[in-house]
Point group: C2
Chain length 145, copies 2
DNA sequence: GTCCATATCTGTAGCGTTTACAGGTATGGA
DNA sequence: TCCATACCTGTAAACGCTACAGATATGGAC
């Protein structure tokens, strides 16, 4: 039978930093695990799976709050899938919005660079365009959140 | 002749929050402006242009540090343009990297949703895929910074 | 049992970029 | 003169960690 894992072993098993694991516990994403007599944490297979779930969702850009919701839903296998679906769908929208912004941004910067010769600052298009939003193609570019 | 602007008027003129303006001053992005007898800030046209420059660069996703460099360069019209060019070029690369990550991400989430019927959590693909990274198309997706 | 290197513990502070508040003061018009 | 509004400073929150300091536990070699 497999021994329970120390926090370091859990970190290795999941690729999540030790500090981050403790942080997840503090904010309630991970349940406080049992401790040894010396108050060191010991994790079982359930904790490993849960942390992997969290890490994957984080990698996919889900917010901690969204993950909290997903975990709560995952805990009830009989419940409808629509909640999880909605969270993922909202996240998808958000990602698509960010992509659109970044693409506009990329075009803007590329255009700026296209016009930049090897001259002096005095005729540098980068500086000039930054100084005057009116020269932008896109009226409303905002950096993503 | 135009009066100097209060911080509120400057905020309106540039679309930058009052709190943000004071923050920019604190971190040295904006010069401390002259004050009235009652110690309220008064901004002239130069400050307005500088803040517009900053806002535009921020909208384009440049970091505050990069903007600091750009401002320093803009202050010397005789200098070579290559520094500003390099900053913009590096930023372009970064934006393109982020786009690529987000696109991979979008595909992953979309694929997850494609497989999600209207069933229960027990057979919810969203939850399931999150729980098992092995089911991902992309081995190495990370959320952008 | 003893020693020691390593791992882990708690608590706090920092990152970057704002935003929000609390509690006090200045300004400008009626 | 009065008062609503705008402004002031300083501090803390937000996000999701990361990094430290200083103390304690663990597990293996002797």
């Amino acid at each position: 039978m497999p021994e329970d894992l120390s926090i370091g072993a859990l970190s290795q098993a999941t690729g999540v930093n030790i500090e981050t694991i403790r942080y997840y516990e503090k904010i309630g994403l991970l349940l406080p695990p049992p401790r040894t007599e010396g108050r060191q944490r010991r994790y079982d297979g359930t904790a490993v799976r849960r942390l992997r779930f969290i890490r994957h969702a984080r990698d996919l850009g889900f917010s901690v709050d969204a993950i909290r919701d997903l975990i709560a839903m995952a805990a009830d296998p009989a419940a409808s899938c629509s909640g999880a679906d909605a969270i993922a769908r909202a996240h998808l929208k958000d990602v698509e919005r960010r992509i659109a912004q970044l693409v506009a941004l990329r075009d803007e910067i590329a255009r700026m660079l296209d016009h930049c010769g090897d001259g002096t600052i005095a005729d540098c298009r980068v500086i000039e365009i930054l100084a005057d939003h009116g020269q932008c193609l896109h009226e409303d570019h905002r950096s993503p959140a």
